[in-house]
Amino acid sequence: MELMKLTALELGEKIKAKEISVREALDAVSAAKEKTDAKVNAYTDFDKELSDKEADRIQKLIDAGDSKSPLAGVPIGIKDNISTKGMLTTCASKILTGYKPAFDATAVSKVRDAGMVVTGKLNMDEFAMGSTSETSVYGPVKNPWDTGKVPGGSSGGAAAAVAACEAVVTLGSDTGGSIRQPASYCGVTGFKPSYGAVSRYGLIAYASSLDQIGPIAKDVRDCAAVMDVISGGDVNDSTSNAAFASGAEGVNENGFLASLNGDVKGLKVGVPAECFGEGVDPKVEESVKGMIKELESAGAVAVPISLDFIRFAVPTYYIIATAEASSNLSRFDGVKYGYRAKEADSIDDLFINSRSEGFGGEVKKRIMLGTFVLSSGYYDAYYNKALKMKQMIMDGFAGAFGNCDVIVCPTAPMTAPKIGESLSDPMKMYLSDIFTVSLNLAGLPGLSVPCGFDAQNMPIGAQIIGPAGGDLKVLNAGHAFQLATDHHKKFPEVG
């Protein structure tokens, strides 16, 4: 299965050079999925018939020389909360049973326009609420490095599929770390763009002000190539920001990929004191510090900084995210699509029964929490205060970036926990989001790159954070690290 060990760009090159056909690339994904997915459970749906047709259409375009993207013909998997026209899109929830959108998400129509072949949908925590990918109605996703452990979440399927070489590249979504943390646990590269860089149109919202679509891939170059495809302003999303896309500051006219040079000479790398030491696994700390050393030897300068506000990030996040979620998820009421309770004597019964039966426990918990913090009498004490904290966190980061260009810290304080372990101690799970959630609150770009393994051979990820719109800086620092190391080139034996 050597084809599946290629990066998306390498595969695209072979397709362009006619060494392999689009159908062969797609068949390789399909065969890998057949062989591996029973153990990983990364996919929720795989539409071979639809993607075969798509592959043939794209092959014709490539043969006619009508496809310019370096990713033309490359298969791509899509997280199950991103709308795909005519393909199941269920957020791994019972309440969206059978739901097939009538339209593609903007990011999906962009990857199709670039000639990529959408293969199937990827498993996740129900409605992206979780850090372990265990709350899916389709059952938990397993970590390919150790199937007794979680892959992280919520984009666990999107990360595990790339790690297990049953997907070439995938689109995930990140509300509080949902791309970066599973990328870290699975030893792959995941990028959460600046808020607004990628249109959210068609992404089924968890928390609208925090959600962002981004790529999960084998390396930074693939992430940059996907960003060239999916980023940009969108008339269907007023929160999208054309200034953060290709052509943004530092990005040359040919886009993110062409702008990657791996040059980090003089780059000031902020090392936040709060992200190391107590609460962080020593092996994780050692690996991340190793990465900082590596960047220093490539010419970067490490600067100690402080992110003292980061301790407020988790509570702030769980107030804002659940508040928005309680509203966003209200539309799933059994009236229009998806699951409808069979027994209902009144409209209120229909709402209550459909939602009680259709949502899982973690989702219900967050809806209730969000409903509570928005309730009359509590709004100021919780939601309004959280908005103030959000502003403080944004200001805090802006101050920190006065002293450095990027910030490096662990993506997660630990490596992947065992399946079942986190759900029994949810506070521990929520707290493990500490290094990722603050970026979503501040709208910043963040990249997780593999930087080592722990004693049990579980991958460790380092997070590179940039200022809003500094997506290229972040990708370039990660690229510099990957030019010098090969952590990202290791593959698990899925057993």
Partner: protein, 486 residues
């Protein structure tokens, strides 16, 4: 009634804006249509869709805010109002609570006690919900989302009304201003203007407010006046008999002339408002507001004054014309086309009104001036022809009827020619006919000569018949008289 109870009323008025497309998507706002044909993934709230704010709504809202003498919010934003109902597909309404587009204004109304200012607390923008169609046969309900996302303005007054008369004057004033602004047709029957009445009573001379009730969605101004009278009486009776008013929402049944309780305050919903994260804050610049202000129209009272002084119209006629902005604009277009002010006013107020009355009766419905679809140039030509004696008045009215009925613009000149309606000015032919009629109607002639002047009418009629109406009756009468007096 032993004590003197004063009523205190505050109004919430909803007005549907007549923008071409909906507030957050490009679907049409047209009224009616087969269920669920004027909607798309955005206005039906399909998962993953996002609202895009229609700039025309902002323009209309700013104009409305200026007409209501409000301060315009320079950094306005939307909020979500959360509640479950099958006609609300997102289960939240995008509305405004924290920073509405306009606030702190007033409307000046005329009352029998003189002019009065009603203060406006705030005015905000929001989306309308859909409607539910209940099956006539089974226990089934079907949502129709056509109206979902039609832009609304909600105008919240202070509790400044003290009578139903003031409420009616206020609603009429808003209707006049908004139709003149061209931002809404304000038809209460079609639901494009709806009012919620908050009413409480207190002893005259006291300043504390009593407990209020709310009556929602009453669909005509006269029904609102009846509802106010009914609710006032109910509250007075309650308090007189030692009872207490409960804070609740009541439904006014205009057929039974009574209200019934719907929902009490204890069951009031908590809407959990919070800022809409999908729509960034909207910045309204001073230039934008100035531009809207510079394009404010002349409102009815000013226009009426001007019609009286500029065109010498009576107060009554000027009042009738300015009641509709399109009609008053059309009146001036007729004058521009060369018709006299007096004739133009007469044709609109008398002839057009009777034509439309007859046509509405034929279709068993109502007709607005705009439904007539008249072309000013053609109508101006018609008026000139009739007033100049070139076409008979009755023929002119028939032509007007055809103009109203016709889907396309009727070419009046061509119509007159093809239907042979032009009055003959051939005095030779006329003289011949007059002579012929006199010769053939000896009895009438002798009656006339013996002093029965009424007989002339019969002779004029006979001439007209002979000439198939293609003549000017005044001229015929003159010639007959001249001939008979010889």
């Amino acid at each position: 009634m032993s004590r003197n109870w004063e009523m205190v009323i505050g109004l919430e008025v909803h007005v549907e804006l007549s923008t071409k497309s909906k507030i957050f998507c490009s679907c049409t706002t047209q009224f009616g249509g087969e269920p669920n044909t004027h909607c798309c993934p955005v206005c039906t709230g399909m998962p993953g869709t996002l609202p895009i704010f229609n700039g025309q709504v902002l323009e209309y809202a700013v104009k409305a805010g200026l007409a209501l003498n409000c301060e315009i919010e320079r950094q306005t934003r939307f909020d979500r109002k959360n509640y479950f109902y099958p006609d609300l597909p997102k289960a939240y309404q995008i509305s405004q609570l924290y920073r509405p587009i306009a606030h702190d204004g007033y409307v000046e109304i005329e009352t029998s006690q003189g002019p009065k200012k009603i203060r406006i607390h705030e005015m905000h923008m929001e989306e309308d919900a859909g409607k539910l169609i209940h099956s006539e046969y089974g226990n089934e309900t079907y949502p129709d989302y056509n109206r979902c996302g039609v832009p609304l303005l909600e105008i919240v007054s202070e509790p400044d009304f003290r009578s139903a008369e003031e409420v009616a004057a206020y609603l009429e004033k808003i209707r006049m201003m908004f139709t003149y602004l061209g931002i809404s047709d304000c038809k209460m029957q079609e639901g494009s203007m709806r009012a919620d009445v908050n009413l409480s009573i207190r002893e005259a001379g006291t300043t504390e407010f009593g407990t209020r009730t709310e009556m929602k969605n009453i669909n005509s101004i006269s029904a609102i006046e009846r509802a106010i009278a009914g609710e006032y009486e109910r509250q007075c009776d309650l308090l007189e008999s030692g009872g207490k008013v409960t804070q609740e929402t009541r439904h006014w049944n205009d057929d039974k002339k009574m209200s019934t309780a719907m929902r009490s305050k204890e069951n009031a919903q908590d809407y959990r408002y919070f800022p809409e994260p999908d729509i960034p804050e909207i910045l309204v610049s001073e230039e934008y507001i100035d531009d809207c202000r510079s394009r404010m129209p002349e409102f009815a009272p000013d226009k009426k004054e001007r019609f009286m002084s500029e065109y010498g119209l009576s107060e009554y006629d000027a009042g009738l014309l300015v009641a509709s902005k399109p009609e008053s604009d059309f009146f001036e277009a007729l004058i521009k086309g060369g018709a006299t002010a007096k004739a133009s006013a007469n044709w609109l107020i008398v002839h057009l009104a009777s034509v439309m009355k007859k046509l509405s009766a034929d279709i068993n419905g109502t007709m607005d001036f705009e439904d007539a679809g008249l072309d000013a140039e053609q109508m101006s030509y018609l008026i000139k022809e009739v007033e100049g004696g070139k076409v008979n008045r009755q023929d002119g009215i028939d032509i007007l009827t055809e103009m109203v009925k016709s889907e396309e613009v009727l070419d009046v000149k061509e119509y007159i020619a093809s239907h042979g309606l032009e009055v003959s000015n051939d005095t030779g032919a006329l003289a011949e006919t007059v002579a012929k009629v006199i010769a053939a109607n000896e009895q009438a002639v002798s009656e006339y000569k013996s002093g029965k002047e009424k007989a002339i009418g019969f002779l004029v009629g006979a001439c007209m018949k002979e000439l198939k109406g293609k003549c000017n009756p005044g001229m015929v009468k003159e010639m007959l008289e001249a001939e008979l007096k010889k």
